[in-house]
């Protein structure tokens, strides 16, 4: 049986893992390779490394972090942040990533999705969408959540899938960093609109939140960062709780 995935996200600033609350107030959390391996040992089904500041410059630092993280990591590894063109993606794959996540650049030019999918396969392309409730609908924001686009998240997810995206990483900006639960309504709307897997992000605080986003939000995977880094919730403990609640997860692993 296909299991629901628990994905640990490492938000990177320079060569350090950090995690903010609502896209601000960064706190230091450690070395990416060490964090990734610890999460994998604890049962993380995948690791995502997001370069949250390097929408410019600093690419060498990121690639070094990708290389050192990939060396001894044997679960799927996604890298996002600052990938603007095919060659940026190629460099990240070359450094050892299995998938790339693209956000702003894909909104600007959806052919980037088909271009990367054509060369590396759809399974390697995750389209990240930052969505926020605006006047009763879900609007897409870019540039780290700073710039509104006037586009609806559901329509954009459909278009990204049609362009060859392999998965959607859907972040609720309203819930991000709050630990108040995923936005199940948003996740369900997108999950029902596309046939590709949807990864829910933003708001994880407890095992109950994961159960809800899998059951009510119909998410295929859920991603969290802050709760895993500071020991608020250990992934092994989380998976045991999900398993006990009859949620299909990779446990024991």
């Amino acid at each position: 049986m296909l299991t629901k995935r628990i994905i640990a996200c490492l938000d990177m600033e320079g060569d350090r893992v950090v995690k903010g609350v609502k896209f601000g107030n960064l706190r230091d959390a450690g070395d990416p390779a060490e964090c990734a391996n610890e999460h994998a040992r604890n049962g993380a089904d995948e690791i995502v490394l997001l370069d949250i500041t390097a929408t410019s410059g600093n690419r060498r630092t990121l690639l070094d972090a990708v290389r050192s993280t990939a060396r001894s990591l044997f679960v799927p590894f996604t890298v996002g942040g600052g990938i603007r063109e095919l060659e940026d993606a190629a460099a990240v794959f070359d450094a050892g990533a299995d998938k790339i996540a693209i956000n702003s650049a894909a909104v600007r030019d959806p052919t980037l999705i088909s271009g990367i999918a054509g060369r590396f396969g759809s399974q390697a392309v995750v389209v990240a969408i930052d969505a926020k409730r605006v006047a009763g609908s879900f609007e897409v924001f870019v540039a780290g959540g700073r710039v509104p686009t006037d586009r609806g998240a559901i329509q954009w997810a459909r278009e990204a899938a049609a362009c060859g995206a392999g998965e959607i990483l859907l972040t609720s900006m309203d819930r991000d960093g709050t630990q108040s639960g995923f936005d199940c309504e948003l996740v369900r709307a997108v999950a029902e609109a596309v046939s590709i897997p949807v990864i829910a992000s933003g708001g994880a605080g407890s095992a109950r939140d994961f159960i809800e986003v899998f059951r009510d939000g119909r998410a295929d995977a859920a991603l969290a960062a802050s709760i895993f880094h500071f020991g608020i919730e250990n992934i092994a403990e989380l998976k045991r709780e999900l398993h006990d609640a009859s949620m299909p997860v990779r446990w024991p692993c």
């Binding site: 299991t3 679960v75 392999g166 692993c253």
Partner: protein, 196 residues
């Protein structure tokens, strides 16, 4: 020496890295003569079945068929396993190796496709590749087309229907999942391949 065959289909780093980690001597190559000289062969690959066309163009197809016929241990991963079958609905113009019979088909629309994530294996007894792999072990898949269950199926998984997770005949092995991305279970499988 293990030859990991590079025919331009995706990223071979992770396969090489896993063998490096296990201490195996491994080379990534697109040269038929290096494939012919290798002790073991790994045919990886992700993406579209049409990318296998490159095997026909480069002379690699003959080298691979020859090696498989010579009883050299041969492991096809993902698209590389699908190549061992007759062909795929994904690209009917390209013939597979026909070592296992049947065609790869697209998952039914009743389930999410691509099939991405960790799924459990129903393991058959007696597989050399899956030696000591526990029943219901989880492995990582990412694919939209699946190979049918055949007599040589050594592990099955379920996603809307039952499909071949692993196949094995003598020296020829195929896995639809990615052992290089399947944690300790995957590394054990690759270690078994190193030791057959």
């Amino acid at each position: 020496m293990i030859a990991v065959v590079d025919y331009g289909a995706g990223n071979l780093n992770s396969v090489k890295k896993a063998f490096d980690y296990l201490g195996a001597e491994v080379v990534v190559t697109d040269q038929p003569e290096i494939v012919a000289a290798a002790e073991k062969i790994v045919l990886p690959g992700v993406g579209h079945f049409s990318s296998l066309q490159a095997l026909n163009r480069t002379g690699l197809r003959e080298a691979l068929l020859q090696s498989a016929g010579d009883d050299k241990p041969f492991l096809g991963i993902c698209l590389g396993m699908q190549w061992l079958f007759d062909g795929s609905e994904e690209c009917v113009e390209i013939a597979g190796a026909g070592i296992f019979s049947g065609k790869c088909r697209r998952f039914p629309t009743s389930v999410k496709s691509p099939h991405v994530g960790w799924n459990s294996l129903v393991v058959q007894k007696g597989s050399r590749l899956l030696r000591d792999i526990a029943q219901d072990s989880f492995v990582y898949y990412t694919h939209s087309f699946y190979a049918p269950l055949v007599a040589e199926t050594t592990a099955a998984s379920e996603h809307g229907l039952q499909f071949a997770g692993a196949v094995e005949r003598r020296n020829i092995f195929g896995v639809q999942f990615h052992p290089e991305k399947s944690g300790d279970v995957g590394l054990s499988i690759l270690k078994n391949f190193c030791e057959v």
